[in-house]
C-alpha cells in the first residue's frame, strides 16, 4: 500500500558539507565511520604533541563558539573551553537555567535566537536524551554533542579510544569491559559504538536492572558476572554510578553494588598485568573503584589511566573542534 514516499513532500534534509565530514554535526559515534574516527584520533595526536611544546593554534581564529551547558559539568565544560582557547576561538558561555525554558520559551525558540549571533559551533550539554540532535535541526551552526541525557557523549568516547590506542598501541582485538550503569550512561553508548566499530571485543557488565534490552544487537556481549571476565580483560572501564539517580529499584544498596560490580582490592589478583583501568569521572571512590586502585601508579599491576583520560580530553576536543569548525 505504501507505494513510495513522495519526494516533493519530503522534509528538508540537512545540507551535506565537506569531504571528510559529511555530517554537519558531531552528535554521536554511532554515525561516524571507522575512517573518520581514525582521522580524528590522528589529529588529536598531533595536537597532543603540540601542547607539549606549549604552542597554541589558530584553527578557530575568527570563529564563534557557544558553549551551551544546560546541565552543569565542570569537567567537560573546562575541557572544551581550554581546547577552544588553544585554538583561538571567540567563546561565549551560556548556562541556561532550567527555569528560563519553563517560561513558555522552548528550546527551539532559544536556539533560533542564538542563531542571530551567527555562531560557527555550538557545544551542547543537556540532561535530555535527544536534545543535541533537536538543537542541531534548528541551527546552521555545527553542533558538538557534549553529552545529551542517556544518549551519547561522543567526545568522551573519542577520548577513551585515544587513551586505549596510545597505551596499548591498538584498539582492534582489545578486550574491553564496560562496567556499571549501562542503561543511563551516554558514555557507555558512545564507547559501545566507537570500540566495536574499531574492532574491539566489548563486554558490557552490570546489574541486570541496568542492562537495557537489545544490547547484543549492538555487537557486544552482555553479562552480570564481573569477576568472570576480569582475567581476559585488556581494558576495564568503570562507569559512574549516579547516586542521585539510582532509586532503590535498580539495586539494593551501594554496598551491594560495590560487592558485585565495584573494582575492589580482592579482585586485583584476577587482573592481568598491564590491564588499563578507566573511568570517565568523576569517581565515587569506594563505590565503583577502590580508592587505592584508582590512585595507583604501580608498574607491576593494572595501569590506572584516569588522569590521562582527562589530559587527553583537551587534545581530542581540539581535534573535533578544528575539524567541525573548518568544514566548507
Amino acid at each position: 500500500m505504501i507505494l513510495k514516499k513522495d519526494k516533493s513532500l519530503k522534509q528538508k534534509t540537512p545540507p551535506q558539507r565537506g569531504f571528510f565530514l559529511p555530517q554537519k554535526d558531531l552528535l554521536g559515534l554511532k554515525t561516524l565511520t571507522r575512517e573518520q574516527i581514525l582521522h580524528i584520533l590522528d589529529r588529536a595526536k598531533v595536537f597532543k604533541e603540540s601542547l607539549k611544546t606549549g604552542k597554541k593554534g589558530d584553527d578557530l581564529k575568527g570563529k564563534r563558539v557557544i558553549n551551551l551547558f544546560f546541565e552543569p559539568s565542570t569537567r567537560t565544560r573546562t575541557s572544551f573551553e581550554i581546547a577552544e582557547k588553544n585554538l583561538s576561538a571567540e567563546i561565549l558561555n551560556i548556562a541556561p537555567s532550567a527555569s528560563s525554558l519553563t517560561k513558555g520559551e522552548s528550546l527551539k525558540d532559544m536556539i533560533e535566537n542564538l542563531g542571530a549571533m551567527h555562531p560557527d559551533l555550538l557545544v551542547v550539554r543537556h540532561a535530555a536524551s535527544g536534545a543535541s540532535p533537536l538543537i542541531a535541526s534548528y541551527t546552521q551552526a555545527s553542533v558538538i554533542n557534549g553529552g545529551d541525557g542517556s544518549h551519547e557523549h561522543p567526545t568522551q568516547g573519542l577520548v577513551d579510544l585515544f587513551t586505549v590506542q596510545e597505551n596499548l598501541g591498538r584498539i582492534a582485538g582489545v578486550n574491553l569491559l564496560i562496567v556499571g550503569d549501562i542503561a543511563y550512561s551516554r558514555v557507555a553508548r558512545s564507547n559501545i559504538y566507537g570500540f566495536t566499530k574499531m574492532g574491539a571485543k566489548v563486554t558490557v557488565i552490570g546489574p541486570a536492572t541496568l542492562l537495557p534490552p537489545g544490547l547484543e544487537k549492538l555487537g557486544v556481549k552482555v553479562s552480570t558476572q564481573f569477576h568472570k571476565h576480569i582475567p581476559g580483560a585488556d581494558v576495564i572501564m568503570l562507569l559512574r554510578i549516579q547516586k542521585e539517580r539510582q532509586q532503590t529499584l535498580n539495586f539494593p544498596s551501594l554496598a551491594e553494588y560495590t560487592r558485585f560490580f565495584g573494582l575492589t582490592r580482592d579482585l586485583l589478583p584476577l587482573i592481568k598485568k598491564g590491564t588499563l583501568i578507566m573511568h570517565p569521572g568523576p569517581i565515587n571512590r569506594g563505590v565503583e573503584i577502590d580508592p587505592e586502585i584508582a590512585d595507583s601508579k604501580s608498574a607491576d599491576g593494572p595501569q590506572t589511566v584516569i588522569l590521562e583520560q582527562v589530559a587527553n580530553g583537551v587534545a581530542v576536543r581540539m581535534a573535533v573542534l578544528s575539524l567541525w569548525g573548518n568544514k566548507k
Binding site: M1, L3, L9, K30, S106, S129, G130, L134, S150
Partner: protein, 425 residues
C-alpha cells in the same frame, strides 16, 4: 428531501449485502435499496459508479479537544476532519478542560456538536472525577445527559477498587467501560516501546507487560462486575490473547486497534521523532505481526483512530517533553485499506471493522448498517485511487502525523450524515 445514490457497489456487512445497487434516502433515513431506482424519485442524485457505498465509519476513540484546548482542535474542525476521513460518528474522550466528568460539560459538548458539528458526536464521560483516579465522576447524570460510555482515557485507573466501582456503577446505567490499559508503575514516563530503539536512544521504555497487566486486571473486573468492557488502542500479542481467551469463556469484552499501531513499529521513533511519540507506544515488529494476524483471524472487533491533535510547538521539543499522539481521522481509512491489500481481511470485513463493529460495541441499532430504516450515515469511497498524505491539506486544526508524504490507496469521495452530504472530495 430525498437523495439517490446510483450505480455504486453497496457493501453492508450488517446485512451481508455486496453488489451494485441503488439506494434511496428520505428524511435522513434509508428508504429503499435494490436494483434500479428511478432518478425522478429524488431531488438529488449521486452517481457512485466505480465507487463503494458503505455505512459511514464510526470512530470509537477521538479527542476533539473542546472545551479547553481549542488551539489544537474544536468540535467543528475535528468533525470536519472526521467527515473528510469517511467517519459519520465519532466517540469523543473525556480529557477536555474542564474534564467531561459531569452533565454540564456533556451537555455543552452535545450542544456544540449539534450547532457546529459535521458528524454525529457521542461523548464519553470520565470514570473518575477530574481523571484523577480518586473518586467516581457523575456517571449517572452524564448518562442521562447522553454519554455512551465511560473512560479515563489518557491515563489508566490505577486503583483497582475504584475501577471495580466504576464498572459496577456504569453497568447500572448500561454504559460501556472503555479501558486505556496501562500500568503506570511499569510504563513510568515512557512513550516508547522497551527494546533496542529505546536502548539506542537512551530513553526509558515501556514493556508490553505494562499493557497486558491492565488488560488482565480489567477482564477480571469485568467478570466480577458483569460490566461491558472495551479495550481501546490495544497493541500487544499478549493483550490480544487475553481478550480472545476471555471472549471464549463468555466475558463481555471487545477490543480495537489503531491504524498507527499496525502500520508502524518503534523504528519510526528513531531520530527522536516526536510525531511517532504516543501512548501506548509504537511496538515491536512481532507485535505488529500479531495484530495483523488478529485481524486475519477475526479476533479484533474494531479499528479506532485515537485521533490526538497537538499544535506543532508541542511536538518541536525534547522527546520527553513532547505530547503524546497523532491525528488519525484523515489517514485511518487509507492505512486500514492496507489490510485488504495485504489480503488479511476482505473489503467487507474492513468496512465491518470501521462501522458495523464499532456500532455493535456501542449498542447502536440504527447505525453501522444500510438496511431500510437505518440512519442515512453513508460513506462513498474509491478503493483504487491513490492518495498522498499531505498534512497541510488536513481539515484537522493540527498536523501532527508521521504519515506525511506517504502514498496510499483509498480516497473518500463523499460522506453523508443523516442524508446530507457533509464532505465531498
Amino acid at each position: 428531501m430525498k437523495l439517490l445514490i446510483q450505480n455504486g457497489r453497496l457493501i453492508d456487512p450488517a446485512t451481508k449485502k455486496d453488489g451494485v445497487t441503488d439506494l434511496l434516502i428520505s428524511n435522513g433515513k434509508i428508504q429503499k435499496i435494490g436494483g434500479k431506482i428511478r432518478a425522478q424519485e429524488a431531488e438529488q442524485v449521486i452517481n457512485a459508479k466505480g465507487f463503494v457505498v458503505s455505512p459511514g465509519f464510526i470512530d470509537l476513540h477521538t479527542h476533539l479537544r473542546e472545551p479547553g484546548h481549542e488551539y489544537k482542535e474544536t468540535i467543528r474542525t475535528g468533525t470536519e476532519a472526521a467527515a473528510a476521513g469517511g467517519f459519520t460518528t465519532v466517540v469523543c474522550m473525556a480529557n477536555t478542560e474542564p474534564v467531561n466528568d459531569n452533565d454540564v460539560i456533556t451537555e455543552y459538548i452535545l450542544k456544540k456538536a449539534k450547532e457546529e458539528g459535521r458528524v454525529n458526536v457521542l461523548p464519553v464521560g470520565a470514570i473518575s472525577r477530574g481523571l484523577k483516579g480518586e473518586s467516581l465522576a457523575d456517571i449517572g447524570q452524564m448518562a442521562v445527559a447522553g454519554i455512551v460510555g465511560v473512560s479515563d482515557d489518557g491515563s489508566a485507573v490505577m486503583n483497582s477498587a475504584l475501577m471495580r466501582k466504576g464498572m459496577q456503577y456504569a453497568r447500572g446505567f448500561g454504559l460501556l467501560v472503555i479501558s486505556h490499559a496501562e500500568d503506570e508503575s511499569l510504563s513510568g514516563t515512557s512513550s516508547i516501546n522497551e527494546g533496542l530503539v529505546a536502548t539506542e536512544l537512551g530513553l526509558p521504555g515501556s514493556p508490553d507487560a505494562a499493557e497486558e497487566i491492565m488488560v488482565a486486571r480489567d477482564i477480571a473486573l469485568a467478570e466480577l462486575t458483569g460490566a461491558r468492557l472495551h479495550i481501546t488502542h490495544m497493541t500487544t500479542r499478549g493483550s490480544l490473547e487475553l481478550v480472545t481467551a476471555a471472549r471464549k469463556r463468555g466475558v463481555a469484552v471487545t477490543c480495537d486497534v489503531a491504524p498507527h499501531h499496525f502500520s508502524l513499529t518503534d523504528e519510526a521513533v528513531r531520530g527522536y521523532n516526536t510525531l511517532a511519540k504516543m501512548r501506548p507506544p509504537l511496538r515491536s515488529e512481532q507485535n505488529v505481526k500479531a495484530l495483523k494476524e488478529g485481524f486475519q483471524k477475526n479476533l479484533i472487533q474494531a479499528i479506532a483512530t485515537d485521533h490526538a491533535p497537538h499544535a506543532s510547538f508541542e511536538k518541536e521539543v525534547e522527546f520527553h517533553l513532547a505530547t503524546n499522539g497523532l491525528v488519525g481521522l484523515e489517514t485511518a481509512f487509507s492505512l486500514s485499506l492496507k489490510l485488504v491489500e495485504e489480503k488479511l481481511v476482505s473489503l467487507p470485513e474492513l468496512i465491518h471493522l470501521l462501522s458495523t463493529g464499532p456500532a455493535g460495541i456501542l449498542g447502536l441499532q440504527k447505525k453501522g448498517t444500510l438496511k431500510v430504516g437505518a440512519d442515512a450515515d453513508i460513506v462513498i469511497f474509491d478503493p483504487k485511487a491513490s492518495v498522498t498524505v499531505d498534512v497541510n491539506r488536513f481539515h484537522s486544526r493540527s498536523k501532527n502525523s508521521p504519515f506525511h508524504g506517504w502514498r496510499l490507496r483509498g480516497k473518500i469521495q463523499k460522506t453523508i450524515v443523516a442524508g446530507k452530504v457533509v464532505y465531498e472530495a
